[in-house]
């Protein structure tokens, strides 16, 4: 039941926030904040309480008939992977509400309605264990996100929002076709119509079919992740979205792609995924290097941060397709830490834009003397982003590289170049924006207590993950073992064929 509550609280809070905006512009903010905190507490409750007493791999599970005619169930379940993603979702949800506290002044009610509903959609994606339900949530989270960009975004918001929608919709429909193909093939083999994840897991597929269906799923997740030739929506959407939108896009929506790869692509199609490894690895390093180089050459601060996401998520793809425990642990660490560090950077950029009304690096400079606390925090997140040891991102990327080294030295070397490049873009960002002379004569106010609190929480999170990542890895380990078993099965099967 607690899983339904997680989604229900967000949905209800969205409606309440919208309705309450008649009376006050502050009420929607508080309602949304309380809902997100409540969800975080519930999720943390599962984390602390559920770990010991569970009998199977799911901490908690609900399963109802939804559309019996098609064998569709309302099936939610949470395991280590989804739990970590949920914790990140609600934490960043709180940050998104706080980040919009002064930025969003118009249509506050409808804004928070969309914010809550996009979080609910993301929660649904992380919990769904019925492929139809998963697709349902997957598509549903787009609509509020689209509204967030198109109503509260910056100058080119309509272009960015439509591009974002079309990319994800097309790739999503390809996934729907793949889901349906799997559904009918499973029916042919067993005579049962079902979209249930657990039952579709062992479906026997011929190698050609498996590859095509896998590609259907992969495209949908690759667009979200994003993998490089399919990434072009990302810089636009991230740049044009309001701060809360950027935080959720970078921190959460991209993670749904990585989550989908781990939850669906590898377990459902282990052989095809294994065959696909070389392509995926090459795409991953292209993303790492391309993202870093592009980030280095941006003058729009927000666009710069957006491109760093392309680079970081390349590490996640690399980790997932390296097929060993170290790399997988690295991937999950990178997913979480990227959410925090990039989310922090987007909030800072948003705060800066609120103060100076520009995101152009050329118009900044010398801000350190004016806003020392803000600049110091920016340096911190910049360092986190470039992978400074002691901070979470380092753990993630280091583990990924360590794991990737076992399967391909060349790939690892190129990926390491990406880490090197990240030093350039992160330091360039800090230098151009905060150091040097204050040529434009900015006079600004420093971090407010609200901003300070947000930054402190995110910094604490990154330090914790950097020094003591073990709880996260422990939670993840049963899932990792399963993935590992799948990987071995597929290698064995491949060996047999030879």
């Amino acid at each position: 039941m607690i899983l339904i509550a997680l989604i229900g609280i967000l949905l209800a809070a969205g409606v309440l926030a919208w309705l309450s905006s008649r009376w006050s512009t502050e009420l929607p903010r508080w309602i949304s904040l309380i809902a997100a905190v409540l969800d975080l507490i519930l999720a943390a409750g599962i984390w602390f309480g559920g770990g010991s007493s569970r009998s199977n791999m799911w901490f908690d599970e609900v399963n109802y008939n939804w559309i019996p005619g098609f064998g569709i169930h309302f099936h939610l379940a949470v395991d280590g992977l989804s739990l970590l993603m949920l914790l990140l979702t609600f934490f960043l949800g709180i940050m998104a509400v706080l980040a919009s506290w002064t930025e969003i002044r118009e249509r506050v009610g409808f804004f928070h309605f969309n914010l809550m509903w996009v979080l609910a959609g993301i929660t649904g994606v992380f919990l769904a264990l019925d492929l139809f339900l998963f697709y349902f949530a997957w598509e549903l989270m787009l609509v509020p996100m689209y509204f967030l960009i198109v109503i509260w975004g910056h100058e080119r918001r309509v272009y960015a929002a439509v591009k974002f929608f079309l990319f994800t919709q097309l790739s999503g429909l390809l996934m729907l076709i793949a889901i349906l193909a799997l559904y009918f093939i499973h029916h042919q083999a067993t005579g049962v119509y079902t979209f249930a994840y657990s039952e579709l897991l062992g479906t026997q597929l011929s190698p050609g079919t498996e590859l095509w269906i896998m590609l259907g799923f992969f495209v949908a997740f690759a667009v979200k992740l994003p993998v490089v030739p399919l990434h072009t929506w990302l810089p636009d959407a991230h740049t044009e979205a309001p701060t809360a939108g950027s935080v959720i896009l970078a921190g959460l929506l991209l993670k749904t792609g990585a989550y989908g790869l781990m939850r669906f692509v590898i377990p459902l199609f282990p052989h095809a995924a294994h065959e696909f490894t070389p392509v995926a690895l090459v795409l991953a390093v292209i993303g790492i290097v391309y993202g870093a180089v592009m980030a280095f050459s941006q003058t729009d601060l927000k666009r710069l941060v957006a491109y760093t996401s392309v680079s970081h998520l390349g590490f996640v793809l690399l980790g997932i397709f390296s097929w060993n425990p170290l790399a997988l642990q690295g991937a999950i660490m990178t997913m979480i830490c990227h959410g925090l560090s990039t989310g922090g950077l987007f909030i800072l950029v948003g705060g800066l834009q609120e103060r100076i009304h520009t995101r152009d690096l050329d118009r900044m400079g010398g801000l350190w003397a004016v806003v020392p606390r803000l600049s110091g925090v920016a340096l911190f997140f910049g360092l986190a982003s470039l992978g400074l040891p002691g901070l979470g991102d380092f753990v993630g990327e280091f583990l990924v590289l360590l794991g990737a080294y076992r399967i391909s030295v060349i790939i690892t070397v190129v990926a390491s170049l990406g880490v090197l490049a990240s030093t350039f873009y992160a330091l360039r960002m800090v230098q151009r924006a905060f150091q040097g002379p204050n040529t434009h004569g900015w006079q600004l106010s420093d971090l407010t207590p609200r901003e300070g609190l947000m930054m402190a929480l995110m910094i604490a999170g990154l330090l914790w993950l950097g020094f003591y990542p073990q709880p996260v890895l422990n939670t993840f380990s049963p899932v990792m073992d399963n993935l590992q078993r799948t990987a071995q099965v597929s290698t064995v099967a491949r060996g047999d064929k030879r």
Partner: protein
């Protein structure tokens, strides 16, 4: 004709009686509310009678009409949508000068024509129903005779509909010449020589012309945007939903009962029509700024999707088509309903500019329109999504990969123009926005449609069960897999 036969025809008789009563009422006293009220009463009786008749279905009445649950299901859809159009028309016509009452007469007759079509099992009733429908529509499309565009649309519809009916007649004649029967189900039984079967095929393809015209699929689609734009908004809604649904119901019965779908050539013709409609509909709409024209092109594309399901040709195909049509009818009526309600006396609210910032002026109206557009685009939590899902499932079950890939790619292009309207709805409102009167009946219909749209979009099980129960009759009769 036994009393039981007459009882089986009760829905048709009641609609017909309704039109006679309305005609007399107009002759004695012209009163808009009275005419609209009588129309609704007639349609309500007809709707209720469906339940009474359902117990005796299936029943063949004189080899020309087959009253089975499939037919009754579609009659229900047609009568309900006819009623919705009647309520929308009332609010719409109130704002206009002139005589309003005859529209209801024509509306009842058109509904009767549709109801005959869905029960038709014979070319005679096919033609009869089609002509009742077409002739009424000529009048309805050109009803606001002080508008130039309406007259143009009416004439265009008249000429093209007559031409396509002529093709249809000729095709029927060819089929009769070869087969010696006009019953759909008997076509399957005859054995033919090579030359005869070529002639039969020619006849069948000619009848596709007549059907394709009513559906507005490529290459018979040229009238659609003009007629939608010229016709009064509620009438455009009727043309888009009721008349097309009836035609699709007939299409399924005709081609499945006669076995004509098994001809390679027929399949190919429909596949080409489907692909062309999906492409043309979605791509041509990209350049439009007139909301009614956008909806017209969108309906061209949607009937391309319906044909994809039709071509899948299994039991799931019938379910998919039926479900899709219900979803499409509800959605499209909601969209045209918004246009109707916002339209003023001098012109219809069909320019994209009319909708700029609507959300900040009339949030509920914009909410309904958003729901309808998202449903047309096939976004989850709306009926349109489940309809599209069903069509894709039917296509995947039949492994028609080319068709469903085309469907997916073109529907994403379609998403672009639906989003254009949505963007307009939520952008900043203009300085001097006109304030429209909104009719209470129209708002009621919109509320019902929106609730259906979302309710069945989230919990479709009851509708699915109904669709499955009603398709059984057609499946048994046509021995589909």
């Amino acid at each position: 004709m036994s009393p039981a036969d007459i009882l089986a025809l009760l829905p048709l008789i009641l609609i017909g009686a309704g039109s006679v009563v309305v005609m007399f009422a107009i002759a004695f006293k012209r009163n808009h509310a009275l005419a609209a009220g009588l129309t609704l009463v007639g349609l309500t009786f007809a709707f209720v009678s469906i339940y009474a008749v359902a117990s005796m279905a299936p029943r063949q009445v004189m080899s020309v009409l087959l009253i089975d649950r499939y037919a009754l299901f579609y009659m229900g859809l047609i009568i309900a949508s006819g009623g919705a159009v009647a309520v929308l028309s009332y609010g719409y016509l109130q704002e206009h000068e002139g005589q309003h009452e005859e529209l209801y007469l024509l509306l009842l007759l058109a509904t009767l024509g549709c109801a005959v079509l869905v029960a038709s099992s014979h070319f005679v009733t096919f033609l009869l129903g089609l002509e009742i429908l077409s002739v009424s529509l000529y009048g309805m499309v050109a009803y606001l005779k002080d508008r130039k565009l309406a007259l143009e649309a009416g004439i265009k519809y008249l000429i093209l509909a007559s031409a396509s009916a002529a093709f249809l007649l000729f095709g029927t004649a060819l089929i009769y010449a070869v087969a010696g029967t006009m019953e759909f189900s008997r076509l399957q039984e005859i054995s033919l020589s090579r030359s005869e079967s070529a002639l039969l095929l020619a006849g069948i393809v000619l009848t596709i012309t007549g059907i394709g015209f009513k559906l507005g699929v490529v290459p018979f689609h040229l009238w659609t945007p003009d007629v939608y734009e010229g016709a009064p908004a509620p009438v455009a809604g009727f043309v888009a939903t009721t008349s097309k649904s009836a035609m699709v119901a007939l299409l399924l019965r005709y081609f499945y009962l006669s076995g004509a779908i098994q001809y390679r050539a027929v399949f190919l013709v429909f596949a080409i029509i489907a692909i062309a409609s999906m492409c043309a509909g979605n791509l041509l709409a990209l350049q439009q700024t007139n909301v009614k024209r956008i909806l017209a092109y969108s309906s061209i594309a949607h009937f391309g999707y319906v044909l994809v399901a039709f071509l899948a040709g299994a039991t799931i195909a019938i379910e998919a088509v039926s479900f899709y049509l219900v979803a499409y009818t509800v959605t499209t009526l909601a969209a045209f309903g918004v246009v109707t309600v916002l339209s003023g006396a001098d012109r219809d609210a069909d320019d994209l500019e009319d909708y700029r910032g609507l959300f900040w002026r009339r949030p509920l109206m914009a909410g309904v329109f958003t729901a309808a557009l998202l449903s047309l685009a096939g976004i989850p939590a709306t009926m349109g999504f489940l309809g599209k899902f069903y069509v894709l499932a039917a296509g995947a079950a039949a492994t028609a990969w080319l068709l469903i890939i085309v469907l997916v790619v073109t529907s994403v292009a379609g998403l672009f123009f639906y989003l254009r309207i949505v963007v307009a709805l939520y952008s900043a409102p203009p300085e001097h926005a006109p304030i429209q009167m909104v009719s209470r009946g129209g708002v009621f219909i919109l509320a019902v449609l929106t609730i259906l749209l979302i309710w069945f979009g989230v919990y479709p099980a009851p509708l699915l069960n109904l669709v499955r129960a009603t398709r059984a009759d057609l499946t048994v009769a046509s021995s589909l897999p």
